[in-house]
Amino acid sequence: MTNKIQWEFPQALEDEAIYILRETAAQFERPAILFSGGKDSITIVRLAQKAFYPGKVPFPLLHIDTGHNFPETIQFRDWLVESLGLDLIVRNVQDSIDQGKVQEETGKYASRNALQTVTLLDAIEELKFDACIGGARRDEEKARAKERIFSVRDEFGQWNAKMQRPELFDMLNGKIHLGENVRVFPISNWTELDVWNYIRRENLQIPSIYFSHEREIIERDGMYWPYSPFLNTTEEEVPFRQKVRFRTVGDMTCTAAVISEADKLEDIIGEILEAKISERGARIDDKRSEAAMEKRKQAGYF
């Protein structure tokens, strides 16, 4: 096989996602898009815009704000909402902490990542959302490979892998009991590369932290952590400036950077493809391979 670069976006994936979003709008009373400001949720917003054009996007965006976001992500979020005329609902993890529903973690690995679930479930209950649209993809990890497109959650937001409904052809069964809700995953069949190729084809804006920029970082466990007031550091962890970018966007306390000069989409896609090619063997050494770095990040992350 050749290693010709795969730039083209498979159109069937967009058609499928738009079909799913239209079914979501029709089958549920109060659907919402779970918006994190990351590339996957930006893709979902674009798909929703296209699915109902020239009508409005019939879903509000729900952002669970941990308070530890990259400021660039929040800026981007507000810009996107403003420029597309979307409705944005923000619920804060800080409120859940203040209400005593969750406790702030301590220690150098403290993060609010796990705390946001409680805030999310409260928001779903408060706002009576019966469907929450997310950007999860089956290629991300093994458990997600089993997710349905319409994934039913009980009153406590739990996913029961054993009780999943079979999904046949394109027929989506969104019937639920009162109190249950559905997570909808329109880009289930996309890979990371598909998302990037789509962003490129659609010429979408994304937060600046996806591109190479100089930033203060520290090194910990072989990963590069963004230095911020939210990160608990030890005395040995001295911040230094480095050109980096982020491959995924989460909180500043749990998203590691990769050393990169990629400042254009083409370069980012090139990096992903190169990381794939290096998988065959010794061409790029491990330290420079960002694929390995990212996976390590994920291992700590999940």
């Binding site: 058609d15 020239p54 046949l168 394109d170 391979s289």
Partner: protein, 415 residues
Amino acid sequence: MEVLRITTSGSVDDGKSTLIGRLLYDTHSIPQDKMEALHAASKRKGLDFTDLSLLTDGLVAEREQGITIDVAHIYFSTPTRKYIIADTPGHIEYTRNMVTGASNAQVSLILIDARKGIVEQTYRHFFIASLLRIPYLVVCVNKMDLVEYSEARFNQIVEDFQALIASATFKAPSIKFVPISSLYGENVAARSEKISWYSGDSLLEYLEQITFDHADNSHPSRFKVQSVIRPKTEAYHDFRGFAGKVVSGHFNIGDEIISLPSQQKSRIKTIEQFETQLATAEARQSVVITLEDEIDTSRGSMFSKPENAPALLKEISAQVCWMDQQKLVPGKTYLLQHGINRVKAKVQQIQHVIDVTSNKIVEDKKELGLNDIGKITVKLAHPIFADSYDANPANGAFILIDEFSNSTVAVGFVD
């Protein structure tokens, strides 16, 4: 770029996991760290090669733990196209997963162990591929290395399989036999030198060449309306567009259409995909259609060409695969979902149950439980606009939903 969907099914030891691992490996779809983990795991097991079957380990672990075995989705791409493999276990108790995995597939990949030849599971895979009318059937005769790459052995298996096909009611328009060794990558991506008597394509070469008829000329034109878009903004004050999906066939601007159930006719004024105006909408595309006239159309309506509109069916006979722990209860009201429409449905009669392995009617069995396949008659509260599955698969399937549990309990194929 095209997407090709493949369904594969098999047991732990027929080399299916190795084959999938090999396809991923040869298309450079395994990240470096995963590859390193594979090397290490293989070494721990005392192997002197990298065991690619460990990639799809999830399923094996599931089986050992006794939890639900499901459909796993695996993705890889080549410069030509993107592949989605729906991988399911092949035992009889997973028939419903096999049917689910096969429901979106264009290619059914059947693996045969060259040493064992055709076994019980082969019949089952073939039956399901036939039931679902999957157009491309690829039979991989695997583990050729264990039969010394014998041409005679391969020919014998091909002959046996041809006999099996001869007895079937449906024959895939394209059937391909490939002798492979997934362990050594012979004829998987690259052509094998060891199997010099075989001059055909490798598995991947064959998959790469499968062509698509986007206009879907062999099937009648059907468009399902998911919603009516009426922005009522100043710029789009009178806009009334029908957002939906081309189920089968194709539509051009200017085509006369009939809308069901209202039976009113009009012509297509525009076909839109966001800001782009299209001349044609092809099968599986999601578009917005506007019409010349205001006719009675809403969510659930179906457009077709007047000369070959689907019949309005209030009673159907269908093959079903039962997917729920609770058996089918004749006389009970279920919801039947055809495409995006749901109607109340009562199962009148279970006509017969089929043995998936022998393709014969099971004598004296008149009930449908989990994983059973049989024929039923159903009475509907409102008509559906379905084609027979045989004539037009994309508009001939339905699901049954239990009104109390809301579960999807069956999939059906209209006669």
